[in-house]
């Protein structure tokens, strides 16, 4: 059982790290097809990463240790989170530590590292990106923690494996108004955290609209490869977290090899489906103006507050 547990953790890390570029490639491909283009193929992000890793590392003039450490820190926080979140199994050696607040904070730590790197360049773009990213991150935080609150009420804990196991045992929790509202709120928060449309456009290079891309404008070579990998991993991880919380079926709750294999296949299927839906939605949405983003986030905050209230009064009544 222990071996299965360790394998599950390793499997989660490898799945997120290796799968992230594929998921991004897949989303770009879906998008390209919907827009009538041929697309570069699902493997293109892998090819990009290989190319970038072989280039020489570059230090832009005037940048310091924060700039150099940020990409690795971004990837490191995501790797730790990938080990914690029950993507494949709820029964791992680290599942006791998989606290939802810790996971959310670790993701925020990655954001913070990149924002500092953006400021460290001393350019207008870096500062602009950092400033906008931190503003969005600050406004997302209440939504995320209230969703955490709503999810933890029925389970009685903020431990993610316990929440997931509870939902598997008692699927009615997910179909409750509280569950649905929390999904909607958390989904908006995930869009904002990963810098997707309508909050940020990951494929823009029009300076005045950039958030994430402006922050990382100075990166090149292997550093850029890490930054891109980190961003892709975060998307994969957060979509995986969403699917674990709201479509938990298939996640291994016991320590058997067969359940783990099934969980891996189902995780891939869920991510492919979620990625396709997101990519398709992005074709039809436009990015909103930066100063309309707070309205969107305020809306998601309201949903999360409703989720908590609904959860309290519905469980309180029963």
């Amino acid at each position: 059982m222990n071996a299965v547990g360790y394998t599950a953790v390793a499997g989660q890390i490898v799945a997120v790290t290796a799968g992230a570029p594929l998921l991004t490639g897949w989303m770009r491909q879906v998008r390209a097809r919907l827009e009538g283009r041929a697309g570069a193929g699902v493997l293109q992000p892998w090819r990009d990463a290989r190319k970038l890793l072989r280039k020489e590392p570059i230090t832009p003039a005037g940048t310091g240790p924060a700039f150099r450490a940020a990409p690795a820190l971004l990837v490191a926080t995501t790797v730790v989170t990938a080990a914690l979140v029950p993507l494949l199994s709820t029964d791992t050696p680290v599942s006791g530590h998989a606290d939802l607040i810790v996971v959310v904070s670790l993701i925020a730590l990655g954001t913070l590292a990149l924002a500092l790197a953006g400021l460290d360049t001393g350019t207008a773009f870096g500062g602009m990106g950092a400033s906008r990213e931190m503003t969005v991150a600050a406004l997302v935080e209440p939504t995320i923690l209230l969703s955490v609150f709503a999810l933890s009420i029925p389970a009685g804990t903020t431990n993610i494996p316990a929440i997931v196991t509870g939902a598997v045992d008692e699927p009615a929790r997910l179909a409750s108004p509280a569950g649905l509202l929390a999904v909607a709120a958390l989904a908006v928060a995930v869009l904002a955290e990963t810098g997707r449309i309508p909050v940020d456009n990951p494929s823009t290079h029009l300076e005045l609209t950039m958030i994430h891309e402006a922050m990382v404008l100075e990166y090149a070579g292997p550093d850029l490869a890490l930054v891109e990998l980190g961003a892709q991993m975060r998307l994969t991880l957060l979509l995986g977290l969403l699917s674990s919380l709201f479509v938990p079926w298939g996640i291994a709750t016991t320590g058997s090899w067969a359940a783990l294999a099934v969980a891996l296949v189902l995780l891939a299927a869920k991510l492919v489906l979620l990625g396709a839906v997101l990519a398709a939605a992005e074709v039809f949405w436009a990015k909103v103006r930066l100063f309309r983003v707070p309205e969107l986030l305020a809306g998601s905050f309201l949903l999360a507050l409703l989720a908590v209230t609904a959860s309290y009064f519905l469980t309180g009544a029963s």
């Binding site: 003039a61 530590h97 400021l119 001393g122 400033s131 903020t158 292997p222 908590v308």
Partner: protein
Amino acid sequence: MSLIPAALATATALAGAGALAGCALPYRQRVPVVGVLTAGVGAGGCTAGAAALSGSRWSAAFPGLLPLAGAHVAVDALAGLFMAVAGAVVVAVAVYGIGYAAGHGAHGLGSHSAQAVLPLFALTLVLVPVAASVSTFLALWEVMALASLLLVLAEHRERVSVRQAGIWYAVMTHLGLVLLLAGFALFAAQTGGETFAALRAGAHTVSPAVRGLVFVLVMLAFASKAGAVPLHAWLPRAHPEAPSPVSALMSAAMVNLGIYGLVRTGFDLLGGGPAWWWLGLIAVGGASAVYGILQAAMASDLKRLLAYSTSENIGLVLIGVGASGLFAAYGNRPLAALALAAALLHVVNHAAFKALLFCAAGAVLRATGLRDLDRMGGLRAPMPVTAGLFALGALGAVALPPGNGFVSEWLLLQSLIHGLAVPGVAVAVVLPLSVALIALSAGIAAAVFVKALGVGFFARPRSTQAAAAKEAPRLMLAAMALLGAGCAALALVPGLLGDGLDRAVDAVGLPGSGAVSDGGLKVRLTDVSATLSPLWVAAALTTALALAVGLPRLYGRRRRRVNARLWDCGGGAPTPRMAYTATSFAEPLQRVFDDVLAPEQDVDVTPVRESAYLVERVRFQHRVPDRIEHRLYEPVLRSLAGAGQAARRLAGGSVHLYLGYGFAGLVVLLLILAVGW
């Protein structure tokens, strides 16, 4: 058993010696001698506090020490916690102060008066929690207020703003004292004794209305000392204008005593109260947390930013204390103990990182003469140690792992999230909102400290002073390193504090929850489990970081890093003036919270005399005033001034008239006495 009185007696003796040395010694010997003696005061307090935390108690009465009532002292674990925190901060800051004052000349912090007062201030910080009667407490409290006021005024020759800050502080702290005096006098009159033991014993006989009045009066006084909104107005003035070691002492040790007073009175002396007390406290805490951090986000003065961040953290503590009282009012004592433990742990954590941050800001101020973030920049190159320690403190302040602030904020969130087990609609409405407010303040705090670190220490220097900065002297660095080690220890092994924290919570009559234990952080309640092991998280992060750095190197061809130009859009190398400043960094947040902050903007266009269309000069001014100060304090000040003006008509200058007033007053008083009794 005899460790506590011995340590306290030593601290008192050292403080006396320090005060004498400050008065008598010439400048060269004064600063180091007073510094060492003050550090001794802190060490004494820390020892006594640690002894109390490990379970010893001590109480004594000195009938002759104060007129009428005599002095009563008692040390329990709650007092011990605050003594230990204050003592530890004093030790580090006193050492820091030696280095700081040595460069400043014989004025300011190095002057006779400041050096004489410094050990006394340190002593009162340690001794206020020891007081066990109303008169002893108020006497120590007032000496602390006066000593800190003198220290705030230390640099009055250098800046006019110091005097203004001093006036604000003096007035507000004394209004607080009046409230405190009124509240305690009422309480003592109703219970028939002024020692804390008598108050505790008699609290149940007091009517609920009077208890409520006592709590409100005392809460206002303590909240104002703690810097809670809307009674915070003195804090963002006095903390930045004080010399940096004094700012550190005030922000990391003195404001805590407001929390101490609140916990002592609310839980221990009054023995808890109805829900509305605590709902009010949570409201004050929530307002302080969000408003404080928003103002910090707008501030471009580094020390002002840190001062507002103190308001924020005190707000978080108040939410914890309020939640604890609320849970206790509804009868859920284990949860109440958990919330109080979270609040007290946050007091400890805040003291550690805020002292470090103020010391680092002081090192920058000393090296560059700058407090304005917009003119700093690039300090990480000339001041690497200071920058690193500031980053460590900032990590604690943003409440993200692996910082120390995260541990207590996590505990606070856990207690609030599990608080829904407590019945009552008020709880169901207040707790989610509190969680949201904590989350919002944590989110904005991240932006605030990214701004402070990124704009102040990273990028390139924006002024000649910043470019010419030099690293702080070794003594200051050593003191800051001590505080940094404290932050790291609190962040990684908070379990070391577990037993002491339990005893402190026990001391106010809530059962210790065992919330923080064995190397990790464990919340164990009846049917709730949540575990956090900060050490484990930090180790995992370090391993993952090593992997993320190492693996790509194995794959890529190993090449040396090459330097390159920044991307300049083909327009020539960007100058430091093009970099984002603190003001521009905060602009999006300011726009989002436009309605709350109400920024003021003033554009003044002067055309040349010959033509209205040719512009000679454009003056642009932008200010984000403290709106609460605007709306709440200015009308009061205006009406006071108005009343004063109106009253001038009563004073015509005629002695007969004045004698007549005296006569009339006496007659009215006698009439009241005759009719009323």
